[in-house]
């Protein structure tokens, strides 16, 4: 598979976000009323039960990993996020997917046998509205076969 050129936007599949997934994540990592309880959430700044922003970030990263692997880029690990903005809440039974643009590639990396790849990530809901944007750097294996052969 050809490696995408820097101008390409890669599109992910979508993930459904149901109430039990939202509540399960929030119970573990972000137990605040607007992520746990529908009545409390209706009265909150968000106006309804919605996913933790960290849940969205982690799910988006899963979609980024799958999308890069599908496009021949051997993702190893996310190493930094220079900016992450949450622009609107993601509510129960919404879907999320990501659009990834490849930025510059850097030779030096903190992880051996990898390079770093800048990624511009848009996280969209089922209506195509942007719910978050993330500028991240990921370590990419220098040689695709390395992880499997060593």
């Amino acid at each position: 598979m050809a490696t995408p050129s820097p101008s390409d936007h890669l599109e992910s599949n979508s993930i459904d976000l149901n109430k039990s997934a939202i509540v399960a994540f929030a119970s573990r990592f972000d137990p605040q009323p607007y992520h746990l309880d529908a009545d409390a959430a209706d009265q909150s700044i968000f106006g309804g039960l919605c996913a933790s922003g960290w849940h969205i970030a982690a799910l988006a990263t899963r979609l980024v990993i799958e999308t890069l692997l599908d496009n021949g880029l051997p993702f190893v690990e996310m190493t930094s996020v220079s900016q992450l903005k949450w622009s609107q809440p993601t509510f129960v039974n919404d879907q999320i997917r990501v659009r990834v643009a490849l930025g510059e590639s850097l030779e030096e990396s903190p992880i051996p046998d990898t390079r770093r790849q800048r990624l511009e990530i848009q996280v969209c809901n089922g209506n195509g509205a942007v719910v978050a944007t993330m500028t991240a750097t990921a370590a990419i294996a220098s040689e695709p076969a390395l992880a499997a052969s060593t």
Binding site: Y34, F46, A57, A58, T61, I65, V76, M78, V81, A147
Partner: protein
Amino acid sequence: MTDLYLRDRWFEDLPVGEFHVFGSHTFSELEIVEFAETFDPRPESTDPDQARLNHRQGLVASPWLVTAMWMRKMVDYMEVYAQGVNDGRRNGAGVAINDLHWLEPVRPGHTLTYTYEIIAKPDRVIREKWGLIRSRNEAFNQYNNKVMQFEIDILAERQPKASDDPQQQ
């Protein structure tokens, strides 16, 4: 001063330089695997045997698990200090993070200690009632090496003016 809880204070009451240690967490192999099964279900991230062949030469916590645990430690910390305080409205949602770096791998059995420091109060008013508290947040492992850092802007409710709804006071 020290007996005041974060949520019991308005935006105006929160001083730059205030510092908190939210607490510590030891990451088990099980929770590292469970998180990866949902958010990074590659065999080298979920199977301890296959993980020995990965670039970290072993199982490591997903970066977002390390960061999500910061959120949990913050919520737990605030609840302890919130006893008797019913007003959760004054502390709102996070809106953006900057300069998040995962500096070292977190492996099963590692213990991280999470810290928080208010570093700025950007001069912005959001939806008429919120201000922004910018904090620097760090996590240190059991060797006292910094493994994560980021800044986050969190909404904090501004003190209503005297002409506003007196029940807000």
